[in-house]
Symmetry: C2
Subunit: 521 residues, 2 copies
């Protein structure tokens, strides 16, 4: 089996149709610190439906009024996906699901001795009785029933089978032996799901793997190879503790590495990941597979050289397949062509010789791990072309006063083309006041606008380094610049003035060729 679009593929034994059960809105929302409003749950559910998942586990209906409202909202939307809600082995939980209008119940029954003894304080016999009653009750109320054995991977295998046998006798539609604390290995997963498949040949089997040891994706795939036909996943691998198997990793691995046809619109994966990160507030680390900012970025010289020559040298799949754009990390990689274009936008026209020198200096900066902003590129080009002269704007002095009994106020004294100008302004805080003061001092002369202001998350202490990145606009041109200081006010002012200096460089009298290039391309 070989899927040409994805390039690499291996044949292997999988079920004909793999169903994707997304639990971003349930297990994913149980991520510590995450709480979604009903409206935001709906936004995510609509995106998941567009993506093409088979089941959306929308929440835990009995948990709160907000949860109930969210599930009702999602049901009302009439999506293509099956809408599911989670329930303990308690009738009032099932009643809540019936009230919500969801199609199915994800009925979670603990089965390990640890859970029975310490959490539920119930005997195995009681568990079997609860299973029977709850499955029947849910079926009587018209729900599709997915019966999960919680902590199944630390459960006595005979008892686990008894629970499922009882559930299936009561007409459970699907069963799921959950790897609740992520202790499966691929060998164990393959063994367990083969056994389940053999023992229960007439019921759909799901895999639910947690990532406590970084193996949730591999375990999910092993389960699918062994007999599972549905897999529980979350966007960005959210979920309790280290999270669940990540939807994007499982789906893309199945498509690209095993050549399977999974009807998920992978080109929407990156957008979906961003939406979930934004609404949950849980950032995706740069080195996260498939959707991390670096997943298709290239830094080292050898790699950028290879990727520029032929992307497949260092890319297992094409970034467009998951809706991402390749990033040749600013500097070493834009390649001479990209760097030349950016410099020409600034109104500079280096010779071939100069361009080579600029390129190698940019590479040097990049080799030191520095991000190369437009402001850095201009400084390098000026140096190489012998155009160094004083910057249009030079900061002479800035002072900010702030507090809870004083309106944040800043004063600034600048040299603007060698003339002294001053500005004073208030703001919502010291940074806002400082930037407002700079803009006031400049605005009469130069109509420059702050288009984007971004501060990387600050971790550590109150004296940690702060990295501010800004994008400024003047007419049709934009420029990026960065400031890095322990002081957020100074870092912000540095970034803004440095970006303004790029836009005010007077090499470019016509002023507006980036817009032209962009519209003309």
């Amino acid at each position: 089996m070989r899927n040409e679009k994805w390039g690499i593929a291996l044949s292997n034994s999988f079920p004909k149709r793999i169903r994707i059960f997304d639990t971003t809105l349930r297990d994913g929302e149980q991520t510590p610190g995450v709480s979604l409003t009903p409206e935001n749950k709906l936004r995510i559910a609509k995106r998941l439906d567009e993506l093409g998942v088979d089941v959306i586990e929308a929440g835990f209906a009995s948990v709160s009024e907000g949860e109930m409202e969210a599930i009702k909202l999602i049901v009302k939307e009439g999506l293509k996906a099956e809408i599911c809600s989670c329930s303990r082995g308690v009738k009032k939980d099932i009643d809540a699901i019936v009230e919500s209008g969801a199609n199915s119940v994800h009925l979670v029954i603990p089965t390990s001795d640890t859970h029975l003894q310490y959490k539920l304080k119930k005997t195995r016999e009681e568990i079997l009785k609860i299973t029977e009653e709850c499955v029947q009750y849910a079926k009587d109320h018209g729900l599709i029933v997915e019966l999960s054995a919680e902590d199944a991977t630390r459960t006595d295998l005979n008892f686990l089978k008894k629970v499922f046998t009882v559930g299936i006798a009561s007409k459970a539609d699907r069963i799921c032996p959950c790897d609740t604390v992520g202790v499966l290995t691929v060998e164990k997963a393959y063994q367990l799901f083969s056994d389940m498949r053999e023992t229960f040949p007439n019921v759909a089997i799901s895999a639910h793997c947690h990532n406590d040891f970084g193996m949730a994706v591999a375990n999910s795939i092993a389960a699918l190879r062994a007999g599972a036909s549905q897999v529980h996943v979350t966007i960005n691998g959210l979920g309790e503790r280290a999270g669940n198997a990540s939807l994007e990793e499982v789906v893309v691995a199945l498509k690209a590495l095993y050549g399977l046809e999974i009807p998920i619109k992978t080109e929407l994966l990156y957008r979906t990941s961003r939406l979930v990160a934004q609404l949950t507030g849980i950032d995706v680390q740069p080195n996260k597979a498939i959707v991390g900012e670096n997943a298709f970025a290239h830094a080292a010289g050898i790699h950028t050289h290879g990727v520029l020559a032929h992307p497949s040298t260092y890319e297992p799949i094409s970034p467009e397949l998951v809706g991402v754009t390749r990033r040749i990390v600013a500097g070493k990689h834009a390649g001479t062509h990209g760097i030349k274009a950016t410099i020409e936008e600034m109104g500079l026209h280096p010779t071939e010789e100069q361009l080579k020198d600029i390129f190698s200096r940019v590479k040097n900066l990049g080799d030191k791990g520095k991000k190369v902003m437009d402001a850095d590129l201009l400084a390098i080009a000026e140096a190489v072309m012998g155009l160094q002269k004083s910057k249009p704007i030079q900061l002479e002095e800035i002072t900010v006063v702030t507090g809870d009994k004083v309106t944040p106020t800043a004063s600034v004294r600048l040299k603007l083309n060698d003339k002294e100008v001053t500005g004073a302004a208030t703001g919502v805080g010291p940074v806002d006041a400082a930037i407002n003061a700079v803009r006031k001092a400049i605005l009469n002369v130069e109509p420059i606008h702050l288009e984007q202001y971004h501060v990387k998350s600050i971790t550590g202490g109150t004296d940690a380094m702060v990295e501010v990145v800004v994008r400024l606009r003047k007419g049709g041109r934009t420029a990026t610049a960065m400031g890095v200081r322990e002081d957020i006010v100074k870092a912000s002012v540095e970034a803004v003035i440095s970006g303004m200096n790029v836009l005010m460089a007077d090499y470019n009298k016509s002023g507006d060729n980036r817009a032209k290039r962009e519209h003309g391309k």
Copy 2:
């Protein structure tokens, strides 16, 4: 085989001694945007040595003066680990390694047709010749040689074997078929490394797996089961694109899931992860296995209830084994058990009726998408229990002056248990000065320390909302609090004072029962 300390274990076939080859300082440093100074490389190398890794790949000696300096510094330190440096198939790269004083060379020779054709523009014959010459040259210069075939997993198997045959004939000490773009599956990994083991029975074999499809850890373990005896890993899974197999995940999985003895001091893993995150600037996502902030945090009611009754219900291993402390997080999914425990730690003992009310108010906050901090929980509990009274600390006034010509300075006037206290301090910026001033005013009376200060990334404008989360410690108790304002100074002060108020609430005269509970379990 069962390792009692780690609890769960499976017997399996592995080499007797697994060697850990850490490449945080080489492949990890190739993470886009990362650059380490020689001094910081040394700091990480010392920590890796303390952790107990066998090999430290310290950098790419020929790449720059900084790299050379870093490797020399690390060599001079006389660590226990073998110090290795990376090289292309180019003699000047090997010369640089000899000059650096490193013990070994990680010689990387591309072998796939894609790399030969598009990147190197060399024939297979040329590659064989380069391999022979470079291995010999390195051995002649007294280096241990680890010969890596780059992109081996997309290389014609016969040619791959030829390259290794030539390398071994020239006395290469170890061979490594690299999964450069992360396309291995566990089945392929097992197959490839079994074949390598059979073909080359007398040489050590390494695995080098990338995480493009989220399977680097499982693939590394499959390789070790099949015949590899050394594994390339990085702290936090740093590395090109989606990164390499993560040291902490591979090591803890081998110990906990397979019961192997790996001489790594796992209790240093969390600290090591923090150090690397801090020095590289690459954050670890909260849902990262082993070292993520949520890896041992519990939010859902079912989970907190279970963990409070018996930690193993929802924890595969004890957090202390990797140097982390368990965290119970309140929120909409929280159950009464978790909330009750947290409130009792604060010294409050609500009736069942009051607890229900507190519980429902917490859920309400959660439904609105709010994170529930310890400070919120205390405020709710006080309101429900009719204990509202003035907070121990009340901010009367804070004033901060900052700028580029003035040392950031803050003064603060507080009511501390109804007595007025003042404090003044300088800092590296306005936030640091303000928090220092608050701490100065309080410290004589209350030994409270700011353990963690985190600002969520700020996106939008300079007037965007800023979310500051802090964790404070007083003896054995900690408290979390949050401040959300447009002004980072006010948000920070609000968070810190609100957290201090939790720790100073005098309901809890004994002061230290969280520590007791944890030690008494």
